[in-house]
Symmetry: C2
Subunit: 385 residues, 2 copies
């Protein structure tokens, strides 16, 4: 069997680490050809020693220390500018987009244009420019197999059923760290409070987005793009156990759902092995011990970010890119201790309200909207001080 | 579009009525070519007037009254002996096996041999001779699309996924009418008590089988046959809401489930329209209102019939036919008020223990075992009095 040659973009983050864990179980099936990271040089070097990729990209400032150790056996690149070229090379079969943020957009587009299979865990690129990415994928025949557990669940629940029979999708939301905390206490939340996610261990940015439910809002837009849905075809239901990862409802009233324990290695592995499955070493949910699954309607007054994301999804055009960019700035400020938790929403809403969305935007329009949103957010932050 | 020509065997029972309800929504898609019933002449005549099948079969004694009304426009047959020939005719595309009991075995086999699509709601035929039926289906290319909600859920959860990646299936069981009644009170249960099923409106026989969990035991054997599983690959979990109709667990730890409101028209319609789906007029489950799904391990001491069915599944051969036949006799006695509720199990167990199973049985072996079990049950009943 020919090995699948995998590029892992963002290999030192939570998804990247899990991706390499999956790959290490099946050395006869996968070959790591590219690892990339920004600043976690120590972990990256460990990974390079273990997986021996031919190519590595990281921040320019760290290049010299690594080059010394691997003297010519491995080629080093600048993560800030070389990723689009690297993912398009013939030596790559599948690109795991495990890096977060808008920086994933260019390599995503490049991989799709080159006809690669792309396994995106990154939400931002799809939120910003999902329509363009999907249009390019249709042109090149590139396959996009989502890694995000909710999108993977929808993908799996659509396999084997006719796309035209789909009525809507139901994204489940664990509800984040603040599900049961009264809104009156949200104002005084510290970074530490918010980073305690009850179900998933993830990076700081996405954990904050989970607490505000902005993450679920991004997933609404992402699902819209990935599966060509209208806003009204995407529903969100709170499901604190996070065991049903999402459901697809068909026109006959039947629903298909995907369930598993909350371990990212399952959707990662599915994306890597699709259409096959392999043993993951993880069992299914123990239904005899499970007792209960709970469901609730999301409280949009308590979590206005989700309502805002639905509104932005309805507007479309460059609005999702603005939502994402403003949110990146706001969450960064919050994580740095310079912005209160409730102010994340206020800032993002302000930027969105100031934006005039361009419909059917080009990539240039999207990048301009992204830059404008960041500048505007920073300007508003300065004014607020 | 060419209409699907449907034969409904047992059209006056619960499944038959629902099947005709589904068909009546899509007169441009389906044509009823055969209706059969035993004794409910009045309803059958109504159905014949509405759907105008070319052929009708019912008990010999009722034939004359119907022949008078429909004078030559419809051909009448004897339900006791003509079904195997009728279902095999070229005018039939799909056979809905909505009749209950062992009488379904011969028409099932005949339809399968003739390469028809068969939609079985009947459990007994598959329990008795599932291996033979499936082997014939493989030979002729006949498609079997189960109507039973649990088997339909498994069928739907397998579509689009590789059969070799299946780890096991989880049959959900509502737990029947007695789920919360202490075992100490089972002895004094009346027929009326037992016939109050909390979730599904069904015939009397199957409602009793649901109360003892023998019905779930039959489904274990049925699932084994339909999906070529070992006994250990079939699990049962109590799920009182009966909304998740069953789940398939894959080797990667992922589970796919099918859910819907408890309305038999959904799996019936799926079997009729497969691989397409059509609007059923029924919505998906309202997840915002659902609140909770509950799960529990089945209590085998309280419901020994399920344990017995697993044992019989393990023995295989003619044992399942014996289990089914003895149970038919016992439940009939119970429904007639001649046997206590707990004695259903005692009698069935006695017959099973007396049986010497024939492995890899022929159809003749199975029918002999069936007859032997019925005689033995009757003999034991007489002795008990």
């Amino acid at each position: 069997m020919k090995k699948k040659r995998v590029a892992v973009l963002g290999s030192t983050g939570s998804i990247g680490i899990n991706t390499l864990d999956v790959i290490s179980r099946y050395p006869d099936r996968f070959e790591v050809v590219l690892l990339t990271a920004f600043n976690n040089v120590q972990l990256l070097m460990q990974q390079v020693r273990q997986f021996r990729p031919a190519k590595v990209a990281l921040s320019q400032v760290h290049l010299s220390s690594l080059k010394a150790e691997f003297k010519g056996r491995i080629k080093f690149f600048d993560v800030g500018k070389d990723l689009p070229d690297l993912v398009a090379e013939p030596s790559v079969d599948i690109v795991v987009l495990a890096m977060s943020g808008a920086a994933a957009l260019d390599p995503f587009l490049s991989a799709v244009r080159a006809g690669k299979t792309v396994a995106p865990a990154n939400k931002e690129a799809l939120v910003m420019a999902g329509d363009i990415i999907l249009a390019e994928a249709r042109k090149s025949g590139a396959k996009i197999i989502p890694v995000d557990s909710e999108q993977s669940a929808i993908f799996q629940s659509l396999e084997g059923h006719r796309r035209e029979d789909l009525k809507c999708v139901h994204l489940t939301a664990s509800g984040g760290a603040l599900l049961r905390l009264p809104k009156s206490q949200h104002g005084s939340l510290t970074v530490e409070d918010v980073l305690k996610h009850p179900r998933w261990k993830m990076g700081a940015k996405i954990t904050v987005d989970s607490a505000t439910l902005m993450n679920k809002g991004f997933e609404v837009i992402e699902a819209q793009r990935l599966f060509s849905l209208t806003v009204d075809q995407v529903k969100v239901v709170i499901h604190p156990e996070a065991l049903i990862h999402s459901l697809v409802e068909y026109i006959d009233g039947s629903m298909i759902a995907q369930l598993s324990v909350t371990d990212m290695r399952i959707p990662i592995q599915y994306a890597l092995t699709y259409p096959d499955r392999l043993c993951s070493g993880l069992n299914g949910i123990d239904l005899w011990k499970l007792k209960q699954l709970n469901f609730a309607v999301p409280d949009l007054r308590k979590f206005p970010s989700l309502a805002l994301a639905f509104e932005v999804a309805r507007i479309g055009g460059t609005a999702p890119a603005v939502l994402n960019a403003a949110n990146e700035v706001a969450v960064e400020e919050f994580l740095a201790g310079r912005l209160g938790f409730l102010k994340i929403y206020t800032l993002v809403e302000q930027v969105v309200l100031l934006h005039k969305s361009v419909s059917q935007p080009s990539l240039k329009d999207i990048k301009e909207a992204d830059a404008w949103a960041r500048e505007t957010a920073v300007r508003l932050l300065r004014k607020g001080k």
